[in-house]
Amino acid sequence: MKQKYSLAAAFLLLLIAGTASAHDGTGTVGGFTSGFMHPVLGWDHVVAMVAVGLWGAFLGRPAIWILPVVFPLVMAFGGALGVAGVALPAVETGIAVSAVVLGIMVALAAKPPIWIAAVIVGVFAIFHGHAHGTELPTAANPFAYALGFVIATGLLHICGIAFGQLIKWPAGRVAVRTVGGLIALAGVAFLAGYA
């Protein structure tokens, strides 16, 4: 009972907390924030990155950790192409297709050889990286911006991996595959221009 009162009091105190305006939104902080929000505010990025994490959970070891380790590096290559102004055809279409393909892989619980999975994910990583990279030259602080979107992408992977751990249970497996199907449908919606 005492613990409940303590928790309730702590919760109430959290509600009345004021803002801590330690920094303004420009420079390093602004660059990191805008970079971090870039993948998060794009649903096409979010669903595809979560799907990478979910697929990694199905593929098991070592894919479950190779994908979040290698993906940022391949994405950086795509980003470098964007920074250098190298045109990549149909970038937004490629990103939407990534949601469709990765969603289908999760929905079908596909377990191809790891090198095939790595190639598929790598190709799509280039598209995602290119989309982020084209924004880099105009960022307030490029290093902070790059770090922001790399970390946001990695955290989305980790969310997918964490949710993917549900496959240990039969009902969880159904739930994860259902989410994969929804991600694929979202990708179709992006392709059709409905989202």
Partner: protein, 203 residues
Amino acid sequence: MTSGIHRALALALLVLPASAQAHSPIEGIGDFYNGVLHPLIVPEHVLTLLASGLLLGQQRTSVVRTSLWTFLVVIVAGLAQVALNRGYSVEAYLPALAAIIGLLVTFRLKLPGAIFPVLLALVGLLVSTDSDPEGLARSARLAFLPGAGLGMLVTVLYASALSHFCMRREWPSIGVRIAGSWVAASAMLVLSLSFAGVFTAAG
């Protein structure tokens, strides 16, 4: 009864928050404190230092010991040089170094132990040389620079301790490698920006 009093005291303290002053207004300590914060607020510095610490934490104790002493000596020398003369902007080289170190953390290649003190010496040299507090009076510089050295050392120490702790466990050790890939990816993107400027100027 004692734990109840502790809880009551904690709650009483929580209802008395004061405004959080982000920077110290005290003369003298302000410059030193600014120095301590400097390597933490410059993205190129903090990432290179963190990656260096993560890399050290993956190595055996003798390598860590040698590398840290080398790092300490080099940053003292580098900051002394800045105090006596001036610093140099080496921002262009830091992303390259951060990328290399990030990749080493990611792939955990088996390298000769002698490489790590050399890497740490390079990190110490570049970061200290790039820590010139322009526009400060001499007395303020002499307070700022030791603070910067302390900030660099503490950052590397904490990162190496965290990395060493994580290396004993499977998933945390993978987390360290993921962090390394993030550093490498960010640094490579910034490098591409530098080269893109070169290609644009040439073209």
